[in-house]
C-alpha cells in the first residue's frame, strides 16, 4: 500500500545513486544512467537498521562506563569517563566548551539511539503521524551523527601531544566502543528509508 502521489505508486523508481527516474514497467535491472542496482526502497531497510541500532545500543553501555582516557601525572593515573571529562571542563570554567562536548558526546548519541528506535517503530507499526515532521527528525538525526566523532579526534590529539615522561595521556577502552557507536548509528541512519514513513500514511 503506497500513498497515491508517490512515484512508486505511479510506476516510477528513483535511482538511489544518481536520482534518475525509471519506469517500473520497463523492468530495467539497473539504472540506465549510472548502472547501479535499482530498488524502489532501500533493501531490508528495517531489518538492517534494527540490527545496527541494537549493536550500537549494547556498545553504548561500555562507552559510557569505561574510561575514555587516562591522565598519568607523576606516577598517578586518573581515569576519565566521557561524563567525567565534561564535568572537569565545566568545573575549570570552560562552560561553553563543556556544553559543546556534552551535546556532541552525550545528547547527540543518546537522542540518536532513541530517535532511530522511534522511526523504526513508526515504520513497522504503520503509525499515522505527521510524516513531514518525522522526516525532518530523520534528517536531523542523519545530519548530526558525524559530529559525535569530536571526542575521538580530541583524544587522538591529546594522546599525541601529551606524551612526556612525567605527564602522559592514554586512550581508554571506551574510545573504541564510542567510535563504534558513532559509526554504527551513522550506518543505521543511512540504512533507514524515510519513504517508508510516507508509504504507510493513509490520508495523504
Amino acid at each position: 500500500m503506497t500513498a497515491k502521489a508517490n512515484a512508486l505508486a505511479q510506476g516510477f523508481i528513483r535511482c538511489h545513486d544518481c536520482g534518475y527516474l525509471v519506469k517500473t514497467v520497463d523492468h530495467p535491472p539497473s539504472c540506465p544512467r549510472c548502472d547501479s542496482h535499482l530498488h524502489a526502497r532501500r533493501p531490508h531497510s528495517l531489518q538492517r537498521t534494527t540490527a545496527l541500532l541494537f549493536s550500537s545500543f549494547f556498545l553504548y553501555i561500555p562507552a559510557n562506563i569505561f574510561p575514555i582516557m587516562t591522565v598519568n601525572q607523576f606516577g598517578t593515573g586518573e581515569p576519565n569517563t566521557i561524563a567525567g571529562g565534561i564535568i572537569e571542563l565545566i568545573d575549570s570554567g570552560m562552560l561553553p566548551i563543556g556544553l559543546l562536548v556534552l551535546v556532541a558526546s552525550i545528547l547527540v548519541p543518546s537522542s540518536k539511539l532513541i530517535g532511530i528506535g522511534l522511526l523504526l517503530l513508526c515504520a513497522h507499526f504503520r503509525w499515522q503521524i505527521n510524516a513531514r515532521r518525522w522526516t525532518v527528525m530523520y534528517r536531523v538525526i542523519a545530519f548530526v551523527g558525524r559530529w559525535s566523532m569530536l571526542d575521538i579526534f580530541m583524544i587522538s590529539i591529546l594522546v599525541d601531544l601529551v606524551n612526556f615522561g612525567a605527564v602522559q595521556i592514554i586512550a581508554g577502552p571506551a574510545a573504541t566502543a564510542f567510535a563504534s557507536v558513532v559509526i554504527l548509528t551513522m550506518f543505521a541512519a543511512e540504512n533507514f528509508d524515510p519513504r517508508l514513513l510516507w508509504d504507510n500514511q493513509k490520508n495523504l
Binding site: 528513483r14 536520482g19 549510472c34 547501479s36 558525524r146 566523532m149 590529539i157 601529551v162 573504541t176 524515510p194
Partner: protein
C-alpha cells in the same frame, strides 16, 4: 508520461514535475520540504578551481606542524598523522584506523575524485570511470570529517591551555583553509548537473565509436 519530465523526492517519494530553478534559486519538495536542487553559477568551473586549490592544500595541512606544546622545557608538535600513530602505538588500532580514514585518507580521495570529475567535465573529456568516481564521491561525502576534527582541535586546545603554553603552526592554518575550500566545494557542487553532463558525454562518446 515521459520519465525525463518528472522527478521523485528522494526522502518522501513524491512524484514531481522536473523543476528547473534559476541560478541562485532553490527548489524544495512541496510535501516534505527537502532541498531538491540549488543550481550554482558555473558549477563545473567552480568545482574544478576549488578542487585544485583543495588538492594543493592537502599537503601542507598534512605535513606541516599543527599544534605544539611545551611542558617542562620539552616541546611536542603534532601533525594529523602523528595522532594516528600515537593511538596505534598504544594498541588502539581500530580507533587509529577510523581517525586515519576520516581525517586523512577520505578527504584526500574525496578531493582527488572531485578534481578528476570536474577536470574531465571542464575539458569535455569522456572517461568510462566517470560514473564510478561519482558513486565513490557520493558515498564518501559523509565520512570526510575535517570540520569535526577542527572542533576536536579546539576542545583539545582548551583542555591543554590550562596545562601548558601552546604554539600554532602553519599546518593548522592550511587545515583551516582546506576546511573552507571543501565546504565551498560540497555546497557548490550541483550533482544533478554533473550527472546530466556525464550522461551527455557518454552519449557523444557512444555516437563517435
Amino acid at each position: 508520461m515521459n520519465s525525463t519530465n518528472y522527478d521523485a523526492c528522494p526522502e518522501c517519494d513524491l512524484l514531481l514535475r522536473s523543476a528547473q530553478p534559476k541560478i541562485g534559486e532553490k527548489a524544495h519538495c512541496p510535501r516534505c520540504g527537502l532541498l531538491l536542487s540549488r543550481p550554482r553559477k558555473q558549477s563545473v568551473e567552480r568545482t574544478f578551481a576549488l578542487s585544485i586549490a583543495g588538492f594543493i592544500l592537502v599537503f601542507p595541512a598534512n605535513l606541516l606542524p599543527m599544534v605544539g606544546i611545551t611542558i617542562l622545557g620539552n616541546v611536542n608538535t603534532g601533525i594529523l598523522l602523528s595522532g594516528v600513530v600515537a593511538l596505534f602505538n598504544e594498541g588502539m588500532v581500530a580507533v587509529a584506523i577510523v581517525v586515519f580514514l576520516a581525517s586523512i585518507l577520505f578527504p584526500l580521495v574525496h578531493i582527488s575524485l572531485s578534481l578528476l570529475i570536474s577536470g574531465h567535465l571542464y575539458f569535455n573529456r569522456h572517461n568510462r570511470f566517470l560514473v564510478g568516481w561519482m558513486h565513490w564521491m557520493h558515498h564518501l561525502d559523509e565520512w570526510v570529517m575535517l570540520e569535526v576534527y577542527m572542533l576536536g582541535i579546539i576542545v583539545a586546545c582548551v583542555k591543554l591551555m590550562a596545562l601548558a603554553p601552546l604554539k600554532f603552526g602553519w599546518g593548522l592554518y592550511a587545515f583551516i583553509a582546506l576546511i573552507i575550500i571543501t565546504t565551498m566545494l560540497t555546497s557548490g557542487l550541483d550533482t544533478g548537473l554533473f550527472w546530466q553532463r556525464i550522461e551527455q558525454l557518454t552519449k557523444e562518446n557512444n555516437h563517435d565509436s
